[in-house]
């Protein structure tokens, strides 16, 4: 039962990643692509937590911590660039 639920969660995360990739490929403006990039980073945090759960190793969560910090800094730098103010 738990195994089935975890596979379902992995499937949902994968489909969400594909949707965000569609917006990344199609996005008319660079800002749309920045939104898609941010969403994919957040989805990657969940995927890392799921991988850590499946492998049973808590050390993997450090990578998720790095991503939780990096997405914030990245979006701020890119927003400053798009605003012509860097």
């Amino acid at each position: 039962m738990v195994e089935l639920l975890l596979s379902l969660a992995a499937l949902l995360i994968g489909v969400a990643l594909l949707f965000a990739l569609y917006r990344f490929v199609r996005g008319p403006s660079p800002a749309d692509r920045v939104v898609a990039f941010d969403v994919m980073t957040i989805i990657a945090v969940t995927a890392i937590a799921l991988i850590a759960l499946l492998e049973g190793r808590g050390i993997y969560l450090d990578v998720a911590l790095v991503y939780a910090l990096l997405s914030f800094l990245g979006v701020i730098v890119i927003a400053r660039y798009l605003e012509r103010g860097l």
């Binding site: 994919m40 980073t41 890392i48 991988i51 790095v66 991503y67 990245g74 730098v77 660039y81």
Partner: protein, 82 residues
């Protein structure tokens, strides 16, 4: 089993991002797509049981390189020709 499916899907996403980096219009889009390739590569490193490499790839590839490229692009914007 779950991890195998996840690996295949991540490879698909990585190829899509790399194609955007090559074929996309504009330098900013290419830099973002490169960051995306780094993100997926770090997830793949994690699945291959190398958390230290994944952390380095996250900090350097997806973080520092993207910021540095955007800083440089902001500085040289006057001479953009393509």
């Amino acid at each position: 089993m779950i991890l195998t499916g996840m690996t295949l899907l991540l490879c698909l996403v990585m190829i899509g991002a790399a194609l955007v980096a090559i074929l996309g219009k504009g330098l900013a889009v290419a830099i973002l797509a490169t960051g995306l390739v780094s993100l997926v590569a770090s997830l793949l490193f994690l699945i291959l049981a190398a958390p230290d490499v994944a952390m380095t790839e996250a900090a350097i590839g997806s973080g520092l390189t993207t910021f540095l490229f955007f800083f440089v692009l902001g500085r040289v914007r006057g001479g953009e020709h393509d």
